[in-house]
Symmetry: C3
Subunit: 439 residues, 3 copies
């Protein structure tokens, strides 16, 4: 368990706070599925990990989709007849319907209302809305402000551009001993929204940083892509090598204070699904695990039937189920360093299981070996119940017939993976086990 | 969903009342497993559907059974010493032990009691009893009447005949595009009992009528047979072609106000079992589904191990579990037009699922196709949750890898079959799916 | 069901009391994993069943283990400075750490405490402790006595020997019609402890006695071995023939008043596991069934991965879960004749199922055969529900397609094995079934 020791050596609160700092730095940027917001975001990430930035030109065909024109925005506002800015993009970038085409004209209140998005149930919050694939323009504002507007003329201005350009994404590949890869994917297209998904970006970055400091069996691939079109682009460009991905997670909404919520991969019983479940059970904390469904984040693309990769989605409170979701209330107050850290730490434990989940062969399969003479078992008999570690050794010996991995054994014994792994290590040191080759 | 539109065009209450009318017409007839009661019944059914009446002679061997002598009855009574008819077959045909041999003599009260069947717990009701395969005679009467009888001589008369003749059953075959058949079977041997089983007869007739007005993929076979011996006879005569039956239902007790109760086929996971369950779940109403057991109606024969046909039993309150079962209280008051109609409608939906349950292939299996550009997906993003139909399309696309039928998809997604089917139709129209051949 | 009749002929209370008598006789003997205590125990058992006593020399290698030196003890005590025996082996043989090396010297209270075992939570009870594989000495005493000892010099004396000798075990083989064996194994190494495991010894002996009086299909092998090393020794000496064991039970703690607790074999769905579950369900009494775990009694060895024999562990209150476990309070008061008898009777029923669990073929598989004409079915129809035996016949006929044994049918029908077996016998007598060869 050298790895676990290393892991624990990282002071958890410190990592949580570092993630919060990164999120604060990224928060003001107006991201979208293309444009300088993503570029600027990836540049900041490069201060932490040496990720490669890739650019795919507008018009490129990626499976059924076409890379759209690149969108950039400088400014936007709505002024009333007195010239007061009643909506100001510079105060909050959610104010603009993301991907709005440029416009500058005077319109009636009625026409303004036809292009306005509000949340009547949450009259103080600004909603987040997009129109990537249909040219449109609009403003998102609090219902209170909209309701207060008097009849009259309004000046609407969106100083944006929509031109041929690029879709930008970041990729960081960490080579391990094997070609088999573990994918960590997270979407980078949301503007000033903290939990969805600066939290996912931060946890992915710090996992990458953490893993880069240790040797590992698997190779790791971290993707920072615009939602949907970004993962489709990556899969399109990497179709032939996608099957190297043996396990994967998409990360989203991992900074709020809710319990972990995991959505299984389409396969439903993939090793990643079982590893996540094991970590959640071992934690002793509340959690929720759901079957795959084809609505959510980029696992939709990785789990499309033509790929069917074993990629699940790791979240705290899932999209659409917290009131602040896709509103201005998903701000820095919604996320907590300890929760970010808990997400980081659980993801790290999941990867530990994947790294350490070997299948062993009991070299003394007929009856139990005499653990006592090897110092692995207490010498005084008759006491009530075995100690956890002795029991774990008996489980490992009993099930190591070549059909059960350590994860299988942890599941069947209801003993934590960590203790099972530690028991296997002790047996291995005593030549009682032999590791089978990974398949 | 053209079919659904047609179906809904039939005003439901109207069908319920038409079924009640048919039941009222059939109610007074004294049916048995052979004889003119069945003939008369089938003749009335022929006014609705062009069914074929078949006659199999007494003495014919049908598997382990022999067609019995034909039984007919004109009259029966018990008179007391004053000449008062205390039991009168013409008032209620349940009064005679069904298949009683002829008798006319004077007997003591004691001997009468030895041939009398009553229900002490329900002293006002007349039980229904039979003795098909052992020659016997008897009277069924209310316990109250029996208890009131004074000592003395009684004249018992049963003016019946038991002679070589025929077993009669009705068969209606509706040819579809395929040779594969769906079987609807119902028993026609019970005398004046409404729920068991004039209700089953009525629902079968109106389903046949309904299906005859539309084209269908499957062929349909409707059997109106005496219980047990009738289905055994049909299976014996049609042994070689029985395996054309791909799905089947026996109908019984479908007119009372209880929730639907479905008994699965012996296979337990047959498509018919899953289609029924889907309809019951989609209804949002209470229901009960039980595993197969070898006691019940003619599914016993269809599900005997030498046939093992996928035939389940569709009921409301099952045989033996309502107090009026097999008594004079199972009369026209026990059944309701809305309940008959609900049974009809749910059976119709089940058949719809079987007709429409295809397996499709996603023609764009790598990542999601862009539904928005085809007008299948809302253009403004960021809202909370997908609409039901959009979600259904994502499910159909995700699971249409050739291994999942629409019914599978409805089950996994917990979306109604109707919405799933509608989503598949939309995708099919957009060349995003291809139907796989039925196996 | 001739067997059942015979079985019931044994007055149950009588057997319970006979088992209690045997236990009382065995209780005072100081057993261990080797030595005269086991020899004396087996000699007493030979008065009931002609078991063979086997001796394996110290130093013999049995798989990973070595037969230890033989331990015998004559006397042991602790005297205080006044010469009073404050601990006396002759009053209770638990007082000596089992397998203590000889010692005779004067020591301080401090040193005595370093070699003393007590139960602070149960200050009146003497614990049972062993040190088989590490040479040591010690005394087990009540915490109350230890706490009362004054400072001063104590004389400790253990008059034991630890010399090359033998490991002794008992084996009783009862030949049946087939070579296939059922194993009943129980440990004989515990000194004055009643439930663990004189109860197991007694039930095994009386089962052997009971079975020896009747003919049986299976051969039976009864093992009375020291825990762990004894079963390892037997498996080592009988490695090549171990796979004749088709079903097996280890018996332990079967005399207390708790409900039956069964631990499944490693296979989890072995016929023995299902037979036990059936008997427990049929009993209508509370019970507990747990999955296999590699801690417990000699099933650990039989279920080691190199053997993986279908051997479960049949207990009442399991080891470690009753306060008296491995203490002087596990005495004759803890066990009850009616509980011993219930354990005996349930084991006997389990063996009955194994003996009678055949697979039959319905010789009339197309539709039901006419049971009425064979006198197997009531002639008056129309009553509510079938009788249990008629229903059982329908189940047997319906499922006897070659894939379902009687135990399968009992499980699926939720009818007791006894009634299912009786129904099959009636059908067999009527040439409606044919027994398939045992595989």
């Amino acid at each position: 368990m050298t790895r676990n020791t290393v892991q624990r050596a990282t002071a958890p609160q410190a990592v949580g706070h570092e993630m919060c700092q990164l999120i604060s730095e990224l928060y003001p940027i107006c991201r979208s599925i293309t444009g300088d917001g993503v570029r600027q975001t990836l540049k900041i990430l490069q201060q932490h990990i040496p990720l490669t930035v890739r650019e795919v030109p507008s018009g490129a065909q990626v499976f059924d989709w076409t890379i759209p024109k690149e969108w950039n925005i400088k400014n936007a506002y709505v002024k009333n007849s007195q010239g007061d800015k009643i909506v100001d993009f510079r105060k909050c970038n959610l104010h603009v319907l993301n991907y709005s085409v440029p416009i500058h004209k005077k319109i009636s209140l009625e026409e303004l209302k036809a292009h306005a998005f509000t949340l009547p149930e949450q009259p103080d919050w600004i909603p987040y809305r997009t129109s990537y694939y249909k040219e449109d323009w609009g403003f998102c504002l609090s219902h209170k402000v909209l309701a207060s507007l008097a009849e009259g003329e309004y000046e609407v201005c969106i100083d944006s551009t929509l031109r041929d350009g690029y879709l930008t994404y970041g990729e960081y590949f960490l080579e391990g001993q094997a070609q088999d890869e573990i994918l960590i994917s997270t979407h980078v297209c949301h503007p000033s929204l903290a939990n969805d998904n600066l939290s996912g970006i931060a946890v992915a970055v710090f996992l990458a940083k953490h893993l880069s400091r240790r040797s590992s069996t698997y190779s790791y691939r971290f993707l920072f892509t615009p939602g949907t079109i970004g993962s489709i682009t990556w899969l399109s460009l990497n179709e032939a090598r996608a099957d190297r991905i043996k396990h994967g997670l998409t990360l989203a909404c991992v900074g709020d204070s809710g319990p972990i919520n995991y959505k299984k991969s389409r396969r439903g019983d993939a090793e990643i699904d079982r590893a996540v479940l094991q970590v959640l059970k071992d934690s002793g904390e509340p959690f929720e695990v759901n079957d795959f469904s084809p609505y959510g984040y980029d696992e939709r693309q990785f789990c499309s039937p033509g790929f069917n990769l074993p990629v699940g989605c790791f979240m705290r409170t899932p999209h659409g189920t917290f009131p602040e979701y896709h509103t201005s209330a998903d701000n820095l107050d919604l996320i907590r360093p300890d929760c970010l850290n808990d997400s980081f730490s659980k993801c790290s434990s999941i990867l530990q299981i994947l790294e350490n989940n070997r299948t062993y062969l009991n070299l003394n399969p007929k009856c139990e070996p005499q653990l006592g003479k090897r110092g692995l078992y207490g010498s005084v008999g008759g006491t009530t119940g075995g100690k956890a570690r002795e029991l774990a050794m008996l489980w490992v010996l009993n099930l190591s017939d070549g059909h059960y991995s350590l994860l299988d054994i942890a599941e069947k014994s209801a003993i934590s993976f960590e203790i099972i792994k530690s028991a296997a290590d002790a047996l291995l040191q005593n030549q009682l086990l032999e590791a089978l080759p990974r398949d």
